[in-house]
């Protein structure tokens, strides 16, 4: 009897141990699963009108998990490229130095830090080295003095050269460019700098641009950031610089996915029409997009317009499948996520309307607003200011209309803001500041920039 009792106890202990092991494994699996990027593909409506060919907006969303606590974050390879042209003299330069020090103090000794300054010429004052050499680097930064022209292209090139010293290692590569003036030495067309950004992206180097004051070329800075998947900021005075640098570093230190390739595959009868707000490539039935990195807790998305063939009532079709391949910088392993979109078709307009996905609608509208802002800049540049105002007002009307339809306060608020911008431009013309705000907001919206 006693033996039986003992056996039972042994068996129950074994079972308990097994149960605990199974539970632990389960939890581990959950943690592993939750730390992956989640990919979803949605349409603006889940139920579409049957019997007619139509264009539909697809929203491919990438939800990055929060950066896990307790795991060492990936190493960062940061190059600061600072404008030290004559116009930076005074408080701007003092704030830029403070900002540089702010960035440095947020890094650790595993990270790599370099500082390049440019005026007429380009100088690497802090060659790529461990960010642990805080005192020495700060002493060097303090010595920066303003004077001369603006060799922006050379500055970014030199910053990239410093980054390349550690290109082969597992770093998050980032150049932060600060400028307050027009580039007047070297290539200076936004298109050229955009191409430089695109070339740097191929080496996984992103360039974040920070424009100070109202005299820099926001088109050039935005293009450079956009093509290299960096952030862009506009600060009116130097006072905000340390905050911006801190925000930027917050992003950089929080990267949870790098080299993010998104491939959207469409069935044969679905035609790709356009990629909204992002640069991508349409290859037959495939749409390819690339992002250099995702930050923790960030939601990035791509909007794609496709043309669907006519379908019958009650059909339920898979209209797109997305596949995301990325590098997990924490585990240094490649990861993959998938998502697909299924839609139904109905002749019932009420059912179609009810199925609207407010989130997709909102983001779609906000992206259209960003495009309208760019259009307004373009029109204003051509001297067609009334048309620019009209473009903005139409965008505001549309936002208001959709906002009311779906009772979306965010859209209504945005409508007000755009209306204000239109009024201001109508009243005072397109000032340098308004142009910069429009360009920066449009960029931040299209790229879902986290920190602003």
């Amino acid at each position: 009897m006693a033996d039986g009792m003992q056996n039972m106890a042994r068996v129950s202990l074994t079972i308990a141990v097994l149960l605990v092991l199974v539970m632990v494994a389960g939890i581990a699996q959950t943690v592993a699963a939750s730390s992956k990027v989640i990919c979803t593909v949605e349409t603006d409506r889940a139920v579409l009108p049957a019997g007619e060919s139509q264009n539909v907006v697809l929203k491919v969303t990438l939800e990055a998990p929060p950066a896990p606590a307790g795991i060492r974050r990936p190493k960062v390879n940061l190059a600061l490229v600072l404008d030290q042209s004559g116009s930076m003299n005074g408080s701007k330069m003092a704030q830029a130095k403070a900002a540089a020090v702010e960035a440095l103090t947020r890094l650790g000794s595993r990270d790599v830090f370099s500082v390049v300054v440019y005026d007429t010429n380009v100088h690497t004052i802090v060659p790529a080295q461990s960010a642990g050499n805080v005192d020495r680097i700060i002493r060097t930064i303090e010595k920066i003095q303003a004077g001369g022209n603006t060799a922006l292209f050379g500055g970014v090139s030199q910053g990239a050269a410093e980054i390349r010293k550690n290109l082969e290692n597992d770093f998050i590569h980032r150049i932060v460019l600060l400028s307050d003036g027009l580039a007047n030495v070297g290539p200076r067309m936004p298109e050229d700098l955009g191409r430089l950004g695109a070339a740097l992206l191929k080496e996984n180097i992103s360039v974040t641009t920070v424009g100070v004051g109202t005299d820099y070329n926001e088109d050039l800075m935005a293009r450079l950031s956009q093509n290299s998947d960096g952030n862009t900021y506009f600060v009116e005075s130097g006072v905000d610089l340390p905050r911006i640098f801190a925000a930027e570093l917050g992003d950089v230190l929080n990267v949870v996915a790098t080299q993010v390739h998104v491939t959207i595959t469409l069935p044969d009868d679905v035609q790709p029409v356009d990629i909204i707000g992002r640069e991508g490539r349409i290859m037959g039935q495939q749409i390819e997009l690339f992002m250099n990195q995702l930050y923790g807790d960030q939601e990035k998305y791509a909007l794609v317009e496709v043309k669907l063939p006519a379908a019958r009532q009650g059909d339920r079709l898979k209209i797109a499948q997305a596949e995301v391949h990325y590098q997990n910088p924490l585990t240094r392993q490649p990861e993959t996520s998938r998502g697909a979109s299924l839609v139904s078709f109905s002749h019932d307009p009420v059912q179609v309307e009810k199925s609207a996905n407010r989130d997709v609608v909102r983001e779609y509208q906000l992206n259209l607003k960003a495009l309208a802002q760019e259009k307004a800049i373009e029109l204003s540049d051509e001297g067609r200011q009334p048309e620019a105002v009209t473009a903005l007002k139409q965008s505001a009307d549309r936002l208001r209309q959709v906002g009311r339809l779906y009772e979306d306060p965010a859209l209504l608020k945005e409508a007000e803001a755009v209306e204000d911008q239109a009024d201001q431009i109508e009243e005072k013309g397109m000032s340098k500041k308004s142009r910069k705000i429009l360009r920066t907001q449009s960029y931040q919206q299209k790229n879902q920039q986290l920190s602003q």
Partner: protein
Amino acid sequence: MRSIIFFWVLILVPALFMSGAAYRLLSHEQERIGRAAQEAMMERAAAISETIHVTIETVKDNLIRSLVEIDPGLLKQTLLDWEKTNPLVRNVFVFESGKKLIYPEKGMAATPEQRQFIARFEALFSGRIEFDRWGGDADPDYPRVNGVGRPDSAARQGDARKQLVTLSRAGRNPPAPVAAEALSDGAEIPGRGAASGWLPWFSENRLHVLVWVKSSSSSQIYGLEVELVTLLSRLVVDFPAMEDAGSAIVLTDGSGSFIHQSGQLKVSAKSRPLSQLAITGLLPHWKMEIYMDEDRLGSAARGFFYLSMLLVGIFIAAILSGGILLTRMTLKNMKAARQKTSFVSSVSHELKTPLTSIRMSAELLLSGRVSDVKKRDNYLSVIVSESERLTRLINNVLDFGKLEQGKKHYRLTTVEVDRFLTQLIEAHQVRISAQGLRIITRLAPGDFTIRTDRDALEQVVLNLIDNVLKYAGSGKYIKFVLTREPSAVLLTICDDGPGIPGDRREKIFEKFFRVDSSLTATQPGSGLGLSISRRILRDLGGDLYLEPEKNTGSCFTARITDHDTDNNSGGGR
């Protein structure tokens, strides 16, 4: 005088010649420094140009080679991979010769960039212009012949250029060095490329470069558009830094826009370059321009010029001051020689005059024809007085020698100066009265007994009396005034003669000096009396000076120190 002029000519002519020659030499040197700086800068620019040329040549060779090596079955996929991953590749294309563009497809081009690419090279892709219209490399073994991609050729270049060369070897994964070496050694490679080329293409006034390969196995032409921004971005990083504030080397593109500047000089589009040179035929119209601040260049060379001129100036000044010094000394010596000659003749004359008187009197007495006692006494007294005069003269000359050499010895005795003076006046009364001068003596009450050298004092007083007799003989009186000071006795001897002109009042105490006037011309004199008297009195701790000028005449005061008082311990030597 002639010799001095000759001397100056000897100094001045070479000095002027030397300064002229130095000026010419320095001017040439100044120009040479300027030219050397320019040449150095041009050589530097040429070296940079050459490096860029070699780099781009290597990039070209490597790109063509990489294109040739693509597996035909994987052509499109390989090109697409390059386009996605290689920063040096802007666009890729596959073209069916004479037919159509296979990739990127017209109309269905996926990106705005590709649409622009097709539009840019429309003339080529529509078949209007052949790819090899401007020539190409027809040799299928192109890479072998040129031996491209040799690791050592890349290793000689800067980091950025090395990376550029690596990028140009292939897509993201350059061929292994072993393979590259094997190829460069002439190993057989599948020579599929029938022709290839690097095609610079201007569109909207901007340079674009297409690298193409014509397949020998099919009618396909494929290739890529080089991302010039990447090329530039890598090239500018390796541009040597120049800290010189006065010069700049600027890289410009076909439209003259500045691509990169090295050097601190402020250069604008309006500035004119000192010189310019084409970089490479592979990037047509791209130039290296050299700018130099001529003012700054000039100022550096001018600095050298001024410094050198200053040195030459100092040299010439040294020669001239040496000359002046020599002239002064010569003149002084000549004057001294003249004074000595005049002294010798004066002394001879002075010696001769009393000797003549003595000789005449002695001869008369010797002839025995003078019977009159009075007359005989007269002749004898002439002999005595002239002998005394002769003795004084000889004493003066002897003393002068001793004083000059500092060998004069003084013998101090107690002298009652008032008594001494009275005796001396008495002894010379005849001489003085003979000149028609009235003797006035003023003795202040008191004791004039002092310790001094009696003989020296007598020599001084006699010199002063002789002086009055010689130069103030036309006056009416000679006045002796004796006053007492606690440590000295002052003896002033005044006359009412013609006096001494103001500018000569101090010079009369110089040896050999005689006031140049009609009076001195008629009176014999050595020019030693006053000089010796002052020297004797000064040796004895006193002085001899001329009293301030009055209406007529002159007054000499001899300050005779009493060596008995404690204050005057100095004295006889």
